[in-house]
């Protein structure tokens, strides 16, 4: 689960990670009260959406920059009015962009130098890793590629936790002066505590900055949490912003379906995540374009299939549907009956190709054939994929 920058920074403050003074607002009226909480002078105006690249983004009305510097608080309010309710398109949002519903104002900081700091899981070692670099405020992937020696990593032993010597090594490598080093060490330790205690999946601070008075501050904050651990963090779960999620994805999660919208026109309904991913791949392989990832799980009950069809048909781009079920334990005939009932219930008018394989498949295919529905049967994944691509293109 992702959270907004202003929410992440509130958590930072709770864990003793210094951030610039800030206040969030969701209406023009709130802008005034929010700004009174900040010191006079230069102010940053930051659109709050769950996507990176905000500063370089463009609003759909042509206004440039989702993160802006303002020399005064008065001008900050004007900038915020242009952003609020406007749709911001960044490299990570896709062309549709995201509607800005919250503005975060922060006191602009004097920056001496920018750094990069992140904590996440290193899958290769199954341990958390702290990643830091003297090259902050830029794309860290570029640094990793062009100057890997400037990326420093500290793996944390989960049995002991983050050791003091590891923190010291890291701050020395980053070349802080003695006062900065002390502040940075405290910040890194506190950020680690937050990562570990909250079951964070990733914390990224880019940039982390030093100021002329040797303070160390987190200027930006990207935080996501392990969905599987949310059950033990009700206060973090409450930070979920449904406005940032595709309504179809929310509906899907209510039915224990895993759905992700894509930009193609062939909808997929599949059991199992790996098979669902490779169903998208095989559609692409034969020249089609998948409209979604949809995993109905191992069960694929009738109710789930009905819900899945409704979600799929809620996407106006969909021109055809590919159902790919490997009924391992499940009886294919039960699944076939579910498909037939679901199609009758939603009144499907689009081409539908069904590939059914597994337990009691002959009966399942017979049920589909006897249903009177205008569906096409595919024998293998390849055969079915070619058929749906041909019907849609």
């Amino acid at each position: 689960m992702n959270i907004h920058e202003f929410q992440a920074k509130a958590l930072f403050e709770r864990y003793g990670v210094p951030v610039p003074k800030g206040a969030a607002a969701t209406t023009p009226e709130e802008f005034i009260t929010a700004l009174t909480r900040l010191p006079d002078g230069p102010t940053m105006v930051k659109s709050q959406i769950h996507a990176g690249g905000r500063g370089k983004g463009t609003f759909t009305d042509g206004f440039k920059g989702g993160v802006k510097f303002s020399p005064t608080k008065a001008e900050a309010k004007d900038l915020a009015l242009k952003m609020l309710g406007n749709t911001l398109v960044t490299a990570q949002t896709g062309p549709a962009g995201r509607k800005v519903q919250t503005i975060y104002f922060t006191a602009a900081s004097d920056i001496k130098k920018e750094y990069y700091l992140a904590i996440l899981l290193d899958r290769a070692t199954s341990r958390p890793v702290i990643v830091a670099s003297t090259e902050g405020g830029v794309e860290i992937e570029t640094v990793a590629h062009d100057a890997p020696e400037k990326i420093h990593k500290v793996h944390v032993d989960p049995a002991y936790g983050l050791a003091d010597f590891q923190v010291r090594e890291l701050v020395f490598k980053l070349g802080f002066n003695p006062v900065e080093a002390k502040n940075a060490a405290k910040l890194i330790r506190n950020l680690w505590t937050m990562y570990w205690e909250t079951d964070a999946a990733m914390i990224e601070v880019n940039p982390l900055i030093t100021t002329p008075t040797d303070e160390v501050l987190a200027l930006d904050a990207k935080v996501s949490f392990d969905d599987n651990a949310l059950y033990r963090h009700p206060t973090i779960t409450a930070l979920r912003d449904l406005n940032e999620e595709d309504p179809k994805e929310i509906e899907a999660s209510k039915h224990s379906l895993s759905y992700i919208a894509l930009d193609g026109n062939i909808a997929c309904l599949v059991n199992g995540a790996g098979l669902a991913m490779s169903t998208m791949d095989i559609i692409k392989h034969y020249g089609g374009n998948p409209a979604n990832f949809l995993d109905v799980g191992g069960g694929a009950s009738k109710d789930q299939v009905v819900a899945a069809f409704k979600i799929i048909l809620g996407d106006p781009n969909v021109k055809g549907i590919f159902v790919n079920i490997f009924g391992g334990i499940m009886d294919c005939n039960v699944i076939a009956s579910g498909i037939v009932e679901a199609v009758k219930e939603v009144g499907l008018k689009l081409p539908l190709v069904v590939r059914l394989e597994g337990n009691n498949v002959a009966a399942g295919k017979a049920t589909l054939a006897a249903s009177g529905l205008a569906l096409v049967s595919g024998d293998t994944m390849a055969d079915a994929a070619q058929k749906i691509v041909k019907l849609v293109v």
Partner: protein, 307 residues
């Protein structure tokens, strides 16, 4: 032989009285697997009964292992308690713990994996379909089925299958069996970012197993486990290997269901992994329908008979 388990292996089921664990314990018994014990704390002394089988239930894994000689556990315990269940199996000195449970917090698995260092227990999973060593009976009955895979799609034979995904494993197995090519052992290692046994661990076991003559390795976007395995195969593997990577069309930065597939590094895209496979002499299946055929091509090139 086979790897990890044989038809003689004695299995205990942690969470046998739950819906999920109970249902699959029955299917394993039907398959002919030697399910000799169940573990549900507080229900020790009761029995799990199915089709003439009467499986004793114990309060702890240690009791179950000591009383029945079970050496392998199938774990169906709900996510908040699954990490603890794995460690209980480790403490009891089991040879193998197969964690089927989906949705275990990553932090729990980080701690479990650290706590397992130096122990004799191997962990497969979590969030995996399990392990099947097919038997010689009808529909491969008489084999060892641990987990949730459909037993009947298997056939006893000489191909090893290792995969992160459940249904994609079944797809590969089904293709092989349809072509009358049997399997030595099929291992679902699970799609979670922190898991017990890697692709490479399983590949090494298959390489050392005299019964296995060819291998299908199925991977996904995310992480670098398949790349690590491919590089080892290039240097050390004596057997033909076919590979498939799911997720060519997955959008960057999105988690695909439980697949644990997040794009993040340089070599974790499908295209990058496929390129490494090719460079390492692995025959790449162009589509998921091509997995068995890819292995047939690799075996023909190496002059190996698969069945």
């Amino acid at each position: 032989m086979s790897i990890l388990v044989t038809p003689q292996t004695k299995i205990l089921v942690q969470g046998i009285t739950g819906d999920f664990g109970g249902r699959h314990a029955k299917l394993s018994l039907d398959y002919g697997t030697r399910v000799v014990a169940g573990v549900t704390p507080g229900k020790g002394g009761q029995f799990f009964e199915h089709a003439g089988h009467k499986v004793p239930i114990f309060n702890s894994v240690a009791d179950a292992a000591r009383e029945t000689g079970a050496t392998v556990s199938a774990i169906f315990v709900p996510p908040p308690f699954a990490g603890d269940a794995i460690l209980e199996g480790v403490a009891a000195g089991l040879e193998l713990a197969v964690a089927i449970t989906e949705g275990i917090p990553v932090k729990d698995m980080i701690r479990v994996k650290r706590a397992m260092q130096g122990s004799r227990t191997r962990l497969v999973g979590p969030n995996c379909p399990g392990v099947v060593t097919p038997g010689t009976g009808e529909g491969s009955k008489g084999g060892c089925r641990i987990g949730i895979a459909p037993g009947y799609i298997h056939k006893k034979g000489r191909v090893g299958v290792v995969s992160r995904s459940g249904t994609l494993t079944y797809e590969a197995v089904f293709q092989l069996t349809s072509k009358d090519i049997g399997q030595s052992t099929c291992v679902g290692i699970g799609g979670d970012p922190v898991n017990g046994t890697s692709h490479l661990d399983v590949i090494k076991l298959f390489n050392d197993d005299p019964e296995t003559v060819g291998i299908i390795m199925i991977g996904e976007i995310g992480g670098s486990a398949e790349v690590e395995a491919a590089r080892w195969i290039k240097e050390h593997c004596k057997k033909p290997v076919a590979g498939f990577i799911a997720g060519s069309t997955a959008p960057a930065g999105r988690r695909m269901g439980h697949a644990g597939a997040v794009i993040g590094g340089a070599e974790d895209t499908a295209a990058a992994k496929i390129a490494v496979f090719q460079e390492c002499g692995i025959e790449v299946a162009v589509t998921p329908s091509d997995m068995a055929d890819a292995l047939i091509r690799a075996a023909a090139q190496a002059g190996v008979k698969l069945s």
